[in-house]
């Protein structure tokens, strides 16, 4: 091969390839977070990085963005060798990243925040004009003089995206960008991303929402246990086949079967209350809460985080007691004035969103964590005062065996379990107590796809056994596939309740944004 041919080949490659990654590996001690990862991203391509939690997606993009240094392998950006020592190298080479957790200052304005991300720039008129131009071009609407703490999650994310776009990146990395967005906001984001790709910019899109990946991305790299297992065209795949490739085994369909005739449709648990004031002024006040659940039925409550879900959960489980006993009735018995323990004894159990620090104590062992909520069952507490370690351990063993919790022993600390395993343990802990009413908040948040499926099946089985379930969640797919009836919470108010069969994602999105909720 003559030299000129080689150059021509390289040029043609460079016009096509944006980022090339060859044989990248990263070890933490003995653990291979990435092993021999090879991938190529074309100019203008929207490339999905798919995988369960812990599959190595974050490690890979951290190496691309210069936060971590690879132990082996090489990278090529725009046809020249690329090995960033830090994010600032990456930025100047044309790589930008939008993180899952926003790095913005709450007390500063949008303009000031953007100026802070740009070296040597000040929040002056000239910068404002440039920003507005970028906003115009990509249809990103944001008001520059508003302070970040007044903005919702979607708007904050736009600020981050604008900040990155101001650096004119060739490659943009987005880490789970839609986890905090409503369907409408997601649509807007996709429009922006399409436009960026039309301009020839490349995008790495990390997600585990398979539907989105199919709608948006040109190609998808699937990762499992730190390695690339497949590169596919997501448009040629079904959500199911993608999911199976991602987890490496066949999934059982999670679908709500019709509520069996045996269970009466009559409400067993009703809540009817005017205002609910949380203990902390940081939580949202609830207004006019009315809801009811029949035995064997699952009620979903959707909503963007921070709209009163915490207060609602506390009020339902009894961490927050209400003055009027009749505002909450279970099987004819008023219990709004009762505390957590008393409600638990009457069959109302719960599993909060925050696993470590609320549902469980990270530094205590699994069997000790059993005592927290299950102490009144199976003789764990003798004479109301003495703890029987043996009974608590047996209980923990049973939870582990029944719900397929992967852990070395009941003596493992709660913090040592993965998110999915801990959640299976914590929900299992309540299910062994045979709840009549089960309140659960974001049960699959930060949980891998397989555990997610398992948890959904746990809930469905519980409902089939005749329990009433209230599922508070931000995950629309979860709500639509698991629940029987559904409503939304916005600014502390509940929408009307609809049958899930009649519900569309668009309609639910509108409800989440507070439309149709009369105030």
């Amino acid at each position: 091969m003559t030299e000129s041919v080689a150059i021509a080949e390289r040029l043609s490659a460079s016009s096509k390839q944006c980022l090339g990654v060859r044989g990248l590996s990263k070890f933490f001690g003995d653990f291979a977070a990435n092993r021999d990862v090879t991938l190529s991203i074309d100019a203008g391509e929207i490339h999905a990085l798919l995988g369960e939690n812990g599959a190595g997606k974050s490690t890979l993009v951290k190496m691309i963005y210069g936060i971590l240094k690879p132990d082996a392998g090489s990278m090529e950006l725009l046809a020249s060798s690329y090995s960033p020592n830090n994010p600032s190298d990456a930025k100047s080479a044309g790589v930008g990243m939008v993180f899952q957790h926003f790095a913005v200052f709450d007390a500063l304005t949008v303009l000031e925040n953007i100026a802070l991300g740009l070296e040597g720039r000040f929040p002056d008129e000239a910068l404002a004009a440039e920003i507005l131009e970028v906003c115009e071009r990509y249809r990103l609407h944001v008001e520059l003089d508003r302070r970040i703490h007044d903005l919702g999650a979607g708007e904050r994310q736009r600020v981050e995206i604008i900040r990155v776009l101001m650096q004119d990146p060739r490659l943009l990395i987005l880490d789970e960008p839609t986890s905090v967005l409503t369907p409408q906001e997601t649509e807007q984001l996709f429009t922006t991303l399409d436009r960026l790709s039309d301009e020839g910019r490349s995008i790495i899109y990390i997600s585990h929402k398979l539907d989105e990946v199919r709608a948006l991305c040109d190609r998808a790299t699937l990762m499992r246990a730190g390695q690339v297992v497949d590169v596919v065209d997501p448009r040629q795949e079904s959500t199911r086949s993608l999911g199976e490739k991602m987890i490496g085994e066949r999934l059982n369909e999670t679908k709500r079967t019709q509520v069996t005739e045996a269970h009466s449709q009559k409400a067993r648990f009703t809540v009817r209350v005017g205002d609910v004031y949380p203990e902390s002024t940081r939580n949202v006040v609830l207004t006019d809460v009315y809801l009811s659940v029949a035995p064997g039925s699952i009620l979903g409550i959707s909503g963007v985080s921070g709209n009163g879900q915490d207060t609602l959960f506390d009020a339902l489980t009894g961490e927050l007691t209400l003055p009027n006993p009749d505002s909450m009735v279970l099987d004819g018995e008023p219990l709004a004035h009762l505390d957590v323990e008393q409600r638990r004894l009457r069959g109302l159990l719960g599993a909060p969103e925050n696993r470590l620090g609320h549902a469980a104590i990270p530094d205590l062992t699994l069997w000790e964590n059993v005592i927290l909520t299950a102490r009144h069952t199976r003789g764990i507490l003798k004479n109301n005062h003495l703890i029987s370690g043996t009974s608590a351990k047996e209980f923990a063993e049973e939870v582990i065996a029944t719900f397929d919790v992967r852990t070395p022993s009941v003596n493992a600390k709660a913090s040592s379990l993965s998110g999915g395993n801990l959640q299976k343990f914590l929900i299992g802990r309540e299910l062994l107590g045979n709840p009549k009413v089960f309140i659960v908040s974001n049960p699959t948040w930060g949980v891998d796809a397989k555990a997610q499926l398992f948890i959904h099946q746990m809930l469905l089985k519980l409902a089939d056994q005749g329990a009433s379930i209230i599922l508070i969640s931000q995950d629309i797919d979860e709500l639509l596939s698991v629940t029987d009836r559904i409503c939304a919470i916005c600014h502390g108010r509940l929408s009307r309740t609809f049958s899930t069969e009649e519900m569309t994602p668009e309609h639910l999105g509108a409800l989440m944004l507070g439309q149709e909720i009369d105030s």
Partner: protein, 353 residues
């Protein structure tokens, strides 16, 4: 480059290795200090730390000093586990001594087996009442128990002084600020023929065993521990924070009061203006030295008691001021806190990855 990184796995014995390292570092630093004074470190260390234990008298003295440290240390370990920071055990001890002493003086000329239990009860209640004040203020007004209990210590010390200078002064004592001597029925029996070691030490051992049982088996102990680890998990479990605050301060107050009355009836035999060389504060070191394990409070209490004897020995045989006790204790606490970092983190030498 030296880096500190989190350990992937923490094992139970790491805590005790850290304690051991702290003891070594303390001994090393004391050696350096002694050498800088022109003394031979090895023989001096032997003279101040080993020789005091060479006789029945020495051991007996050690037990006498360890008694209040262990009694209070166990109570503080329970309270600190619950995240309730009772810093005023010294004041609760003084109130226990004062109230128990007052009962003893009320029966100064009466013999009877029932006198002693009554005195112990009086002292315990005195400390309990003093512990109840910060508990009430915390529960009712969310007042900081650290400040309230600490300030009440000085109130208690002054109150004792007023009582000993006034109402409780010995009528036949030539106006010295001392009470009458207690009746024999109002003093605790000695354990040995020499020294001041008394029955109170046996009580202290029983408390340490009881404390362990409370931590391991009693639901209330678990409840207190959970509350100390995470208030929101405690709330979800249905545990009441106020109950934990009350329990922690009442146990702390009651047991410190008991330690106080045991000190005056077992050791001093009368009320004087100064009944404690800061046992209540030193017990905080003891509790942490024991890593808040009630049973481990026994060796920790003995060790710290030794530092008191060592201070006296340093003064007697080396001519170093008795304030060296505080130096020993200060160094020990300093190294303990420093090495506790090693339980959850490790130091790595090398280049940045």
């Amino acid at each position: 480059m030296i880096m500190i990184e989190a350990r992937a796995v923490t094992r139970w014995y790491h805590e005790w290795i850290a304690v051991f390292i702290a003891l070594l570092l303390t001994a090393a630093t004391v050696s350096v200090l002694l050498a800088s004074l022109g003394l031979d470190p090895i023989s001096s260390l032997q003279r101040i730390f080993i020789r005091p234990l060479n006789s029945v008298y020495g051991v007996s003295e050690l037990l006498a000093k360890a008694t209040p440290l262990i009694t209070i240390g166990v109570a503080l370990a329970l309270g600190f586990r619950a995240g309730v920071w009772n810093i005023g055990a010294e004041g609760q001890l003084v109130m226990g001594g004062l109230c128990g002493g007052a009962v003893a003086l009320a029966f100064w000329n009466i013999d009877g087996f029932w006198v002693m239990p009554l005195i112990l009860l009086g002292g315990t209640l005195g400390g309990l009442a003093w512990g109840a004040i910060p508990a009430f203020l915390k529960v009712r007004f969310n007042a900081n128990e650290i400040l309230v209990s600490l300030m009440l210590t000085y109130v208690a010390i002054l109150l004792l002084s007023v009582m000993v200078h006034g109402p409780l002064r010995d009528p036949t004592g030539f106006n010295f600020p001392e009470s009458r001597l207690f009746h024999d029925a109002a003093t605790l029996p000695k354990l040995f023929s020499a020294g001041r070691g008394h029955l109170g030490f046996v009580f202290a051992l029983i408390f340490a065993v009881l404390g362990t049982w409370v931590v391991k088996r009693w639901h209330l102990g678990f409840e207190m521990r959970v509350t100390g680890l995470s208030t929101s998990a405690a709330k979800f479990a249905g545990y009441n924070r106020d109950r934990t605050v009350w329990m922690a301060l009442l146990i702390g107050g009651g047991m410190s009061g008991f330690a106080g009355v045991v000190e005056v009836t077992g050791n001093i035999g009368q009320l004087v203006p100064n009944i404690s060389p800061s046992y209540g504060f030193t017990a905080i070191i003891v509790a942490f030295l024991a890593r808040l394990h009630p049973l481990a409070v026994i060796p920790a209490g003995l060790l710290v008691a030794l530092s008191y004897l060592a201070g006296e020995a340093a003064q007697l045989s080396l001519g170093i001021p008795a304030a060296s006790t505080q130096v020993f204790q200060g160094l020990l606490l300093f190294f303990l806190l420093g090495t506790s970092l090693l339980v959850n983190y490790r130091i790595r030498f090398g280049r940045v990855a």
